[in-house]
Symmetry: D2
């Protein structure tokens, strides 16, 4: 049994962490923090939540926990990470602060001076499936972004296989509204979202783009990794991401071979499901689960991957707990199925 | 051709006014105001809107218009009404400021000192169907609330007929989210509303209760008007109100007689449709129209009325223009069908 | 460990049973049947379902199970119940076949000759909270309807307390679309339901009315039980029921006393939550849980109860498993929290 | 004043035609047909519809009309077209029967023998903006498919400009549920669609692919037109299509030049709106209108077009009436704004 705390428990990802940890038999949840709602009870905000008192982050008893989850805004997360690590507490950070290895890229895209650049080198980018050997010793895990999780799990096999790619990869992604956070804003007002569907920051404008390109380069193991075009869209659903990804292959790719590549790559994965040939991924495959469903389709020489996750679970809180499980030696699926 | 202006054109009711007046061939829209968005264009907020510059209310050229519509918060509306009337401009006020004849009731429920109590006596409560003779001379019209419109149109025939009522009337009403306004708030965040349904301020707590009780007393023409129990609920749809209204009648009411009473009462009305016996009103009957659909059902001795309107049209902007049409001698349905 | 089978596993309630039993550690699911989909796999229909082969009901190995759940159309359920009971298998029937004690009432409302009227007397009406002492010996449990569950849990305390009631009770209920079943029909087409809200069979026309009136009479323990007016409405959400219930009390009821009555009645219940005074029940309190949330409000002398359940769980599959737990001596909340 | 009839008036596109023609002052609607609902009234199906009797198609008085709209299944439409043309009636066909010039392609994709192949050569593919000179003499107009309308209006300028294209064009399209028709089916049941989002027939599998490729070849004016990859998805909204289209350009395209190309191409169009640079198209720009909103974005050398229409209006009934207006010499926007 380990002890854990959650910083930023009232956002959608933070609350999802509460729900998962409550049913995880190896973890005792010691505290939950909130800056905006400190002094209130979590079930005042979420009627199904447990009756937990929200405290200020500064008041969190770091000396009483083994791990903390940071569901905080960027920059705030890094500052808290420093404090936690200093207290000997292992950190799983759901913000963007430690996802990018390149400091300049981070500061350019997030328009802030990084509070702890010295930690970038040690942070593990926590796409669990590919860093299982690093997690047991990791002190700081950067939990991947929601869009990157859906895109990178789909892209890794074809990139790692080294198949030649003929041009930019296109990820046309569609996300439910919880991805925009819980703070009320005009564009996520019910009346604005219902009956609507809208692209935003398409092309090369969204902050998740450099995060994905860093990993694509790493998967590709060469300097000539293909560029990414990333087009997010806002779906009128509360949760879920579906990415439709186009990979222009060179030569004469074979559909069966490509399906086999994926089926074998993920054959033993508890949370990545490669669908049978002929099927396509949808939100219905994954909402309220920690799964990623991936379907493999070939059109001419273009590989089309459809990849679906629940943005709050596999795209945030679920993957964070999956990482924690590996870090602390629990069964990887504990609390997640 | 008359000239008109809209104060508060960026809220949902205000924008609906813009749309209706744009297609009304007897009205030239001279100005649109907004406190929060002055200096911006209306089509920056609503992509289908005409390209109109939003100006501050203080800058509105009252000397150039014949009528103004006030889609402003209460108290602000009354202050603007005073200025407009002083300038000789006729006022159709969509706020609550002039709906209640009783000053104390207003100040108790709205928790504000009324800015212009002297106008209460002259304001016409604009449920068009029942005040057509007063509108041509009216300088100030208090446009009814959305819930009251759905409830009062349903109740008037049975109350005016003087049938004895055995106890409180119950109005169980359900409204789409646009009724809560355009300003972002937590409870109207898409994620909070989708898949949810929730009552609020039920019983005798909502501000529309005294408005309805004043009119019920007027319809009843006696001191023994039944009390009202009013239960609003928030529906996960953008627009529309359905009220299910229970009137406990004394004696042995007859279903056919009741249906006849309603059919005759509204036989010549362009916007009130009494449905054939056996049918029930739904939002699908009325959204995007100025109609009120009313169905008459009897269960034992309880009369059940289902009454549906579009809260932004018959419940706000449409009825306001309907009132304007009668005030200025236009055909009543002009711009509304 | 007991063994169980599900007849009719592909409807929404049947599939919910599969999900609950899969995580119930005391039950082994032996078979799942479907008439329309026999020979197919459950996960062909529901992408998150376990990989279970659907068999014809006639082929179900009754000799290998201890209990069966019937999620079948009425009349078909009764015929299967007879076969199961003959084989010594205990039955939890989710259809209407054994809910009404009065044969004539059943045959009049369901327009069918009852296939097994001799079983009506022995069937236990399984509103678990009130029949815990009868369940351990019960061979046949009639699981309550979804609307009745939401209404009866709310009404029982005030009726059992014997407070005088001044007129008909009104239950204005709103249900998500899964209550209409999985078979495609025009009125549950997405385009018909989205943005709409509609009453149906209001007053005294819905089949759940006699079921509720039988229980109201039983709770009231006298011949003068108040009549019920029941108004169901179709909500544009997949799941959940909210009932707003009006009980006209005689005399001068006290709000605190009424709240105390409810708080005490359900103080020890794992699944019935009486909300603090001032709060109201909503779907958000209960969806995806086996809970019933009840709020107590007083308006004049009218008691207003808001009562929310998930129609597929507490209103169907969850309550069925709750009954099974008591029947077989499991902890009552097993598999349900 | 001309006279017109609608074959297949009860589907979503057919009913939209009724609504548009009812407000078109130059057209008298003579008849509406329905095979499934003949003998019923249109307002029995659609509560806001006019009170029109539905007749069998065979009973339609072709001798009394100048034009007919065919909103029928494929093959049935062609047979009706033959009868109408023989009677001297001009035909606007909303089915796929006359969209493809190549008979073999039609028969391969639609798996039917074409009932009237001799008419293929004379049919005008009615993307109004590009065939205005042919419409006044056209006897038979093939109204474009909904997806093709959104994609082709977006692609025409870049293709007609002859800019070199480096690989396949990708159209990632998302459609509201009305595109799947009004007949109830499992995958468009409210419970299946709500909270879901799903791709279907992606790559080179959807029947609209050959229709688009024929037009792309025509726009390109050469044999080397790029292939198309087309990925439709089902959106949980009633209406609207948004296509996100990726065109890989050769060389070093310039964003301003591309925007200018589009702005000029559509400068005088009443229904095609090229959005200002920096904006993106969304369903909110177009639902309930005959507009197509197109935004032009450049990412590296990939042109990204976002193109939105209302699938039932510009994608079906609205474009059909737009075609009729040009055919009969009415102002093109008559009845459509």
């Amino acid at each position: 049994m380990i002890k854990a705390g959650i910083f930023g428990a009232t956002g959608y990802a933070g609350y999802e962490l509460v729900k998962i940890l409550q049913r995880h038999e190896g973890v005792k949840l010691e505290f939950v923090t909130s800056h905006s709602f400190a002094g209130q009870w979590l079930d005042d905000l979420y009627p199904q939540a447990p009756h937990l008192l929200l405290i200020e982050g500064e008041a969190a008893p770091l000396d009483q926990v083994d791990a903390v989850f940071l569901a905080l805004p960027h920059a705030a997360a890094a500052a808290t990470a420093v404090a936690a690590l200093s207290a000997g507490v292992r950190v799983i950070d759901l913000s963007a602060d430690f996802r990018l290895k390149d400091l300049e890229t981070y500061e350019a895209w997030y328009d802030v001076t990084h509070p702890a650049p010295e930690l970038l080198a040690t942070a593990v980018y926590g796409l669990t499936e590919f860093v299982r050997d690093q997690l047991p010793d990791a002190q700081l895990v950067a939990n991947p972004g929601c869009y990157p999780t859906s895109v990178l799990l789909a892209l890794q096999p074809v990139l790692a296989a080294g198949l030649p790619i003929a041009g930019p990869i296109i990820a046309d992604s569609k996300s439910g509204v919880s991805g925009a956070g819980r703070v009320p804003k005009q564009h996520i007002h019910f009346v604005e979202v219902a009956n609507n569907f809208s692209p935003y920051k398409i092309g090369r404008m969204h902050r998740h783009l450099p995060e994905m390109e860093e990993q694509i380069a790493a998967f590709s193991q060469n300097a000539d990794a293909p560029p990414l075009i990333f087009s997010p869209h806002l779906l009128p659903v509360p949760r879920g991401i579906l990415s439709t990804i186009y990979v222009p292959l060179s030569g004469q790719p074979n559909a069966d071979d490509l399906h086999d590549l994926y089926a074998q790559a993920y054959a033993d994965e508890p949370f990545v499901h490669v669908l049978p040939a002929g099927q396509l991924a949808s939100l219905a495959h994954v909402t309220h689960t920690n799964r990623c469903a991936i379907a493999v389709t070939l059109a001419g020489s273009t590989l089309i991957l459809t990849s679906a996750i629940d943005n709050l679970i596999k795209g945030a809180a679920g993957q964070a707990v999956q990482n924690m499980n590996v870090m602390f030696g629990f069964e990887e699926a504990r609390g997640l199925s």
